[in-house]
C-alpha cells in the first residue's frame, strides 16, 4: 500500500493542535488575578448584588443572577438551559459584606460540563473575583475545598465568624437523580483579600456614590 498523501499534513496539523492545546492549558494556569488596571478600593459593606464571577485559573467568566430558596429549602440553581451562569443567594450577604456570601453553579447539564465543573481544581491560594453592581471587583482567596453530603452541609458553609467571605457551591459524588441529582455538594471556602474598581480613572472615584440606584 502506498504512502498516504495526508501523512505529512496530518503530522503538521497534529503538532499545531498539540501546541495550541498546551498553550491553552498554560494560559488557564497562568492567568490568575485581576486582569485590568483599576484603582484599589476598600472592600465595601454595601449590599450590592454580584453581577459577574471570574476565576482566571479555571477560565470561568460568568454572569451571576440573584436567586432564593426552592421548595426543599435549598438554594435555587440557575435553570438548566442557563447552566453557564452562576446564582447568588439573596438570603445571605452580598460578596464583600461580612458573613458568607454564597454563589452556586451547575457542575454539568444534560450535555456536559457547566460553569462550576472545574471547582475541585481550586486549592488554597487560588483567586476568585466577584464584580458587583456598584462596579467594585472583590478579590477572594480560596482557603479550603471540601465535599459534603447534601443533607448535611455543616454550619460553617453558611456562617462566617469574621469578615467578608465567599462560598462557591456545586455538585459532586454519585448521581442519584430526581430532585437531588448528585448526592454531594462541593464547597469552596474563600476570604476577601481586597477590592478594586476596574476602569476607574483614579482613587478619587472610589468613595463616590455615583451610579447609585436612584432615590
Amino acid at each position: 500500500m502506498a504512502e498516504p498523501a495526508w501523512r505529512l499534513p496530518a503530522a503538521g496539523l497534529l503538532i499545531i493542535a498539540g501546541v495550541f492545546a498546551l498553550g491553552l492549558a498554560g494560559g488557564m494556569l497562568l492567568f490568575d488575578g485581576p486582569a485590568g488596571r483599576g484603582s484599589t478600593v476598600p472592600v465595601s459593606q454595601r449590599p450590592d448584588a454580584p453581577v459577574r464571577i471570574t476565576i482566571g485559573q479555571l477560565g470561568v467568566d460568568a454572569p451571576v443572577r440573584p436567586v432564593g430558596l426552592d421548595d426543599r429549602g435549598a438554594i435555587d440553581a440557575p435553570p438548566l438551559d442557563r447552566a453557564d451562569e452562576a446564582a447568588w443567594y439573596v438570603g445571605g450577604p452580598a460578596p464583600g459584606q461580612d458573613g458568607a456570601a454564597v454563589i452556586v453553579g451547575h457542575v454539568d447539564d444534560a450535555d456536559g460540563p457547566a460553569v462550576f465543573h472545574d471547582l475541585p481544581a481550586l486549592a488554597p491560594g487560588s483567586r476568585v473575583e466577584v464584580t458587583r453592581r456598584d462596579g467594585d471587583r472583590v478579590v477572594f482567596e480560596v482557603t479550603a475545598v471540601r465535599t459534603y453530603p447534601k443533607e448535611h452541609l455543616p454550619a460553617e458553609v453558611y456562617d462566617a465568624a469574621g469578615g467578608p467571605e465567599l462560598r462557591l457551591i456545586t455538585c459532586g459524588g454519585e448521581w442519584i437523580g430526581g430532585d437531588v441529582g448528585y448526592e454531594d455538594n462541593i464547597v469552596v471556602f474563600a476570604t476577601a483579600v481586597g477590592a478594586d474598581r476596574p476602569g476607574a480613572p483614579g482613587a478619587a472615584d472610589a468613595v463616590g456614590v455615583g451610579g447609585g440606584g436612584g432615590p
Partner: protein
Amino acid sequence: MPESRHLEWFAASIMVAIVAPVVAAAPAPDAQSGLAAQSQPQAFIEVNPDTIRPGETIAIVASCDDKKHDDDDDDDKITSAKARSRAFGEVELTTRGGSRLLTGSAHIPSDTEPGTYAVNLRCPNALHATTDLKVVLPAKPTMGPATGGGGEATGGPPTVLLSVAGGVVALALGAALLVRGHSPRRGAGPA
C-alpha cells in the same frame, strides 16, 4: 502492515477529537435575536433584579410599542405607563431622552412578605404585559443546592488536564507520523 494502519487511523481520530470541540465552541449564529423578534411588536416589562430582599429597590424597564418603528415618526410615541404589583403598589414609568423604553423604579417595603409577586404593565393603548418578582427573606438553606444535570454523572477531569493530555498525545502522534514519513520503508505492501 496492520500496525501502521492502526497508527494512521488512531492519528486521524485523535485529530477529529481535537478539532471537533474547537469547531463546536465557535459562536453559533443567534437565531433568536434580530428581525424575527423586532417585527413582532408587543409590550414587555422587566424588573432588575428579579429576586430581592424586602427593603430594596428595583429598576423597571418596559415598552408599550404597538407597531413597528422603522422611521423617526414620534407622533404616536407613548411616554408613560403604569406598573402595578402587590409588592409595591403602583409606580409611573416614563421615557427619558429620545428612548422609546419606559423606565422607573419601585421600592419594596421592608415588611413585605416573602413570595413571588406579579408585576403588571398597563399601557395607555390597552396593551399589557407581566413579569415576576421574588421577595426573599434572609434565611439559612436547609439543604445543599441541586447543581447538576447529570450530563457526566461519572465526573471527569478538569478541562485544563484534558487540554494538557490532548496536547501531549497530539504532539506525540504528529511526531510519530513525521518520523514514519521519513522512514525508508515505503510502500509497505498490501494490507
